[in-house]
Symmetry: C2
């Protein structure tokens, strides 16, 4: 059994409960809305964020159904962001399935994303006023948008630094992953040291996750990736592997890289040139090393928490985030 | 002074407070996000929904700052929906200003809409758990999306009935207008009869508003409209005036109408033919009569409420919704 399967196995009953909540809470009496929403919600994916809510809750001593609700909420926020990303990236395939806009057009896709946010609001309505979930999620969704807007605005900026980029991804991806951990932790404990440890863990694996995601777009076979390869490159998005390459290559290569990444240049030429630089500077190994550093720091943060099967699963998950192939 | 100006005059201090909240609560520490958000939030518009919150609150006896917050919230939900609508309608001009996607591209526009929703969530965080606002707004945003998705899906359906269309607009436009009234009423009273009266009022003027909006797209000069005329026609959207015309014209005209509204046919030909049918069947007068009927029913619902300047202003507002020129 893979390390990821072992993690899933530990909490399989909880994950089934989350799936039920996802299905129930996204149903619409309008069959067309229902169909479009189920298409994306049942689209699979690893349910990484629900898993993090559940394991963080358990690590902090909580077992109960509120973790299922919050796990479903973070997954819906995630799916909504994917749906909107896909619209604007003009992605045709996601998780091996047609995207909504391929199937039904842009308009439906944007609105389904909005619909999922509305459902999230409904699921949060009945929470107590001293419950921290609303505030955490409000901050998180705001930061996700800010990260996305800045990334979109910066997308043509060849001079973006590694530091700026890491800040953007800590917003775009890191915040919701960290929030998943924090929400789970709050269910089980008020101990701020423990909550901080889980927060640290979440922030670190969020960054590891995105760096590996960026890398997989270049090095992974499309059938494993569940989407088209070189998608970021084609869209002119500068991601971690390119930003790193730009930093380490010589001036002539840097100029050439900028030239081939220009929107007007030939796509296959760009891919070939990028691949040659990746090989020369061993970019894959470097990216994985950086990502593993984040995973190691994530796990180091957990050491103040009591040993448990759930904590062990969080540790395995951090390593899986780096070693995964899709 | 126009009847609308008189209404605004009555609550001008409250409206200034709402504007301050809008500005404060949409500020982002990221200057680019801030600029894009302020572009749409300060884009003007009539602030109809905030006005309805404020007047409904007053009519039910409430004066205080919570009405300002809720007025700002409904306006942000409205602006967010406009931003997303504009993206997908590929609108270039709104309220006389360039739309976000004209200025900064689609991606930024979709994300700014999402950002505004995130801000709404933040503004609702601190509300008490027995406060009805969250639930009302969760239901409202869901219904708005359902209405939009169904309208998008039905947009190519020449056979959509007046009844189906009225249902769609009661979701797309009516729900938020009604919610504005309901939120205001709840601040001032727990009396269900009064809340129902205000709810009735809101639902009726919501429909009146959308019918007139649909009509203005055909008959109003673009400089007053603040956007390009015949926008709905160009996008292939069937709206109330066309659906009514289709119902009253003869079979030959119906076939011809369907033909010219087909995406492949010449745009100016479509506009000329539609104008000729509008004249023949006096469509403008008919639409205004229908809209006035809704406004009259809106005002009839108010009669159970005590006489006051605020109630009188709501009545004037209902008539203004029909008589407005933009």
């Amino acid at each position: 059994m893979s390390s990821f399967d072992q993690v899933v196995n530990l909490i399989s009953d909880d994950l089934s409960a989350v799936e039920s909540i996802l299905t129930e809470n996204t149903a619409s009496e309008y069959s067309f809305v229902d169909m479009a929403v189920q298409h994306v919600v049942e689209g699979g994916g690893k349910r990484l964020r629900p898993i993090l809510v559940l394991l963080s809750a358990r690590t902090c001593g909580y077992v109960g159904s509120d973790a299922h609700t919050l796990a479903a909420v973070v997954e819906l926020i995630h799916v909504a962001s994917l749906v909107h990303d896909d619209v604007l990236d003009e992605a045709a395939i996601r998780r091996g399935r047609e995207t909504l806009q391929t199937k039904w057009g842009n308009k439906v896709a944007v609105l389904v994303g909005d619909y999922l946010h509305a459902r999230v609001l409904s699921m949060l309505v009945s929470r107590k006023s001293d419950d921290p979930a609303m505030e955490i999620l409000a901050d998180t969704t705001q930061a996700m948008c800010e990260g996305e807007v800045i990334h979109a605005y910066k997308s043509g900026d060849f001079d973006i630094s590694e530091e700026e980029y890491l800040k953007i991804i800590s917003f775009k991806t890191g915040k919701l992953i960290a929030a998943s951990c924090i929400l789970g932790a709050h269910l089980g404990t008020n101990n701020m040291e423990r909550i901080d440890a889980i927060t640290q863990y979440g922030q670190q694996i969020g960054t590891a996750f995105q760096i590996v995601d960026d890398l997989l777009d270049f090095v992974e076979a499309p059938e494993k990736l569940g989407k088209n390869a070189y998608g970021d490159l084609r869209e002119g998005k500068l991601t971690f592997p390119i930003i790193y390459t730009r930093k380490v290559c010589d001036d002539g290569e840097k100029q050439m890289l900028e030239k081939v990444l220009n929107a007007d240049s030939d796509e296959s030429q760009a891919i070939n040139y990028v691949e040659s630089l990746f090989e020369k500077y061993d970019v894959e190994t470097h990216c994985l090393r950086i990502a593993q550093g984040y995973a190691d720091r994530a796990n180091a943060a957990l050491t103040i928490l009591p040993q448990s099967a759930a904590r062990k699963a969080l540790e395995n998950l951090a390593n899986y985030v780096v070693s995964r192939e899709s």
